[in-house]
């Protein structure tokens, strides 16, 4: 096992301990820690907060809900093998409130690590950070192996709100820790490994080293998500794939289906329209 894999496994096996340590430390430094069940509760919390502080929200509660879902897609996203693109922060009312997503949480320092974050001016007044409970690392020095996995032009460590004498930075810092189904994953030894993910994106196609070759935290990026998807197949499973599987084993039927595809091509399928002839037609004619 590599170091990042070992450290992530250790964190997950003792997650309650490290969350308690993080909470204690960050609270001692003036931050607030809130625990929520999922994206719904995050949206409710944000709605309440903006209403209480009279912060106008363009797009209203609905836009907060959408942002909460982007920040906290829940573990279903892992099961679907979706791309771990980091959501952008939302800043409201000229810096009155900023809502961001954490890259890591560091237990011993009570620190929140954000990547690619550039708040303007002296704000925000209130900084809210949303993080899945699995984001925690034990110690600051663990960053020596984890930060290189998330290269960014700006990496920030928030260790509390503005202190006495400081001239800028948030007046309030609130960390929202979201379960989002993660505690259930933890209970399954086979699925727990998924939570080692630090969203580095090495497994994504279109990235250097992409294609599921080398996961730095030892997740079987090809096998594991697929095994899990077998247990919880997409809605497109079922009869559609049975029909597809039948057609794909009958070359003549397959060719006929291809002609139907051409005849009834629909713009909204999101691909360029097919050329008049398939490869096999062109090949046959070329060989005559």
């Amino acid at each position: 096992m590599t170091k990042p894999t070992e450290i992530r496994s250790h964190v997950l096996a003792n997650l309650d301990h490290y969350l308690a340590e993080l909470d204690k430390q960050l609270t001692a430094q003036g931050g607030t820690v809130v625990y929520l069940r999922g994206a719904d509760e995050v949206a409710d919390y944000l709605e309440l907060l903006t209403r209480e502080r009279e912060i106008p929200v363009p797009g209203g509660a609905e836009s907060l809900r959408r942002h909460a879902e982007r920040l906290e897609p829940g573990v279903e996203a892992y099961l679907r093998g979706e791309s771990p693109a980091d959501p952008e922060s939302l800043e409201l009312a000229d810096g009155a409130l900023r809502i961001s997503a954490a890259a890591f949480l560091i237990a011993d320092a009570g620190a929140i690590c954000l990547t690619g974050e550039h708040p303007g001016g002296t704000g925000p007044k209130i900084q809210v950070v949303v993080a899945g409970i699995e984001k925690v690392l034990p110690r600051m020095r663990d960053l020596a192996v984890f930060l290189p996995l998330l290269p960014s032009d700006t990496t920030r460590f928030l260790t509390g709100p503005r202190r006495a004498g400081e001239l800028d930075g948030p007046e309030e810092l609130c960390l929202i820790l979201v379960d989002g189904g993660r505690s259930e994953l933890l209970a399954s030894p086979e699925r727990r490994d998924l939570l080692r993910c630090v969203r580095c994106g090495a497994c994504l196609p279109g990235r250097v080293g992409g294609g599921g070759v080398d996961c730095p935290v030892g997740i079987d990026t090809e096998g594991l998500p697929l095994r899990l998807r077998e247990e919880a197949p997409l809605e497109v499973g079922g009869w559609k794939f049975r029909l597809w599987g039948y057609v794909m084993r009958k070359p003549r039927l397959y060719e006929f289906a291809g002609q139907m595809l051409r005849a009834f091509w629909r713009e909204e399928w999101g691909l360029p329209a097919p050329p008049a002839k398939s490869f096999r037609q062109a090949w046959r004619e070329g060989k005559k």
Binding site: G211, P272, F279, W283
Partner: protein, 220 residues
């Protein structure tokens, strides 16, 4: 003795991008191979496998096995389909499946590692963006020898589209970067990603042509 290769063009190239399959056949023939196309072939089973529908993927994989059981080399223009077959065929069948899996090659790797050619004598006089390669694709090495090709670099290929599984659209930011790159062509290694990008470029109103690696290597 002339060696024989069997084309596995994949369902996407067969139905949607036949020009890439024809070009691949031409390059292989120029490299001295006898090229055959077995009409019994359909798909590698990846759409079902990536959606978690292993049962149907296996049935289609078994059909692939029957179609190509005695092929000397199976060459395909898709890295993703080649990987699917190499990794999953052994799980679906016995010894014959394992042996066939080892004879499946992605087109660019086949040229470099089996045929041992890097300069296929191609000429392509355009400024082109080369779509980032996946896995062990050797496209970039082959393109380095193409005469007249001016490669234009575009940083960060994140969000370059996905067709199977849950699917993923092409990122508009990527389309803009390609649009602003000054290139007249985009060269892709993977038909599905190329087609998704072609459509996204069309929709965004960029007059940039998309071609498959095989088409570039076949041009003179």
């Amino acid at each position: 003795m002339t060696k024989r290769v069997s084309l596995f063009v994949t369902c996407v190239v067969d139905q949607l991008l036949p020009s890439a399959g024809l070009a691949m056949a031409e390059v292989l023939a120029r490299a001295g191979y006898e090229v055959e196309f077995r009409p019994a072939q359909t798909c590698c089973g990846r759409p079902a496998y990536e959606a978690g529908c292993r049962e149907q993927a296996q049935l289609v994989g078994e059909h692939f096995l029957r179609s190509f059981a005695d092929a000397e080399y199976v060459v395909t223009p898709s890295t993703a389909c080649a990987t699917m077959l190499r990794k999953r065929l052994p799980e679906f069948g016995g010894l014959a499946a394992r042996e066939l899996a080892g004879r499946v090659w992605e087109f660019s790797r086949f040229l470099v590692e089996v045929a041992r050619v890097e300069d296929v004598g191609a000429r392509f006089e355009h400024a082109a963006v080369v779509q980032e390669a996946e896995g062990l694709n050797c496209g970039p090495r082959l393109l380095a020898h193409v005469k007249g090709l001016e490669q234009v670099s575009v940083s960060d290929w994140a969000g370059s589209g996905k067709l199977w599984g849950r699917g993923e659209p092409v990122s508009p930011a990527l389309v803009n970067r390609i649009g602003a790159s000054g290139a007249s062509h985009v060269i892709g290694m993977e038909a599905e990603r190329l087609l998704l990008l072609r459509r996204a470029l069309e929709k965004a109103g960029h007059a940039i042509e998309t071609v498959h690696l095989a088409e570039v290597l076949a041009s003179r």
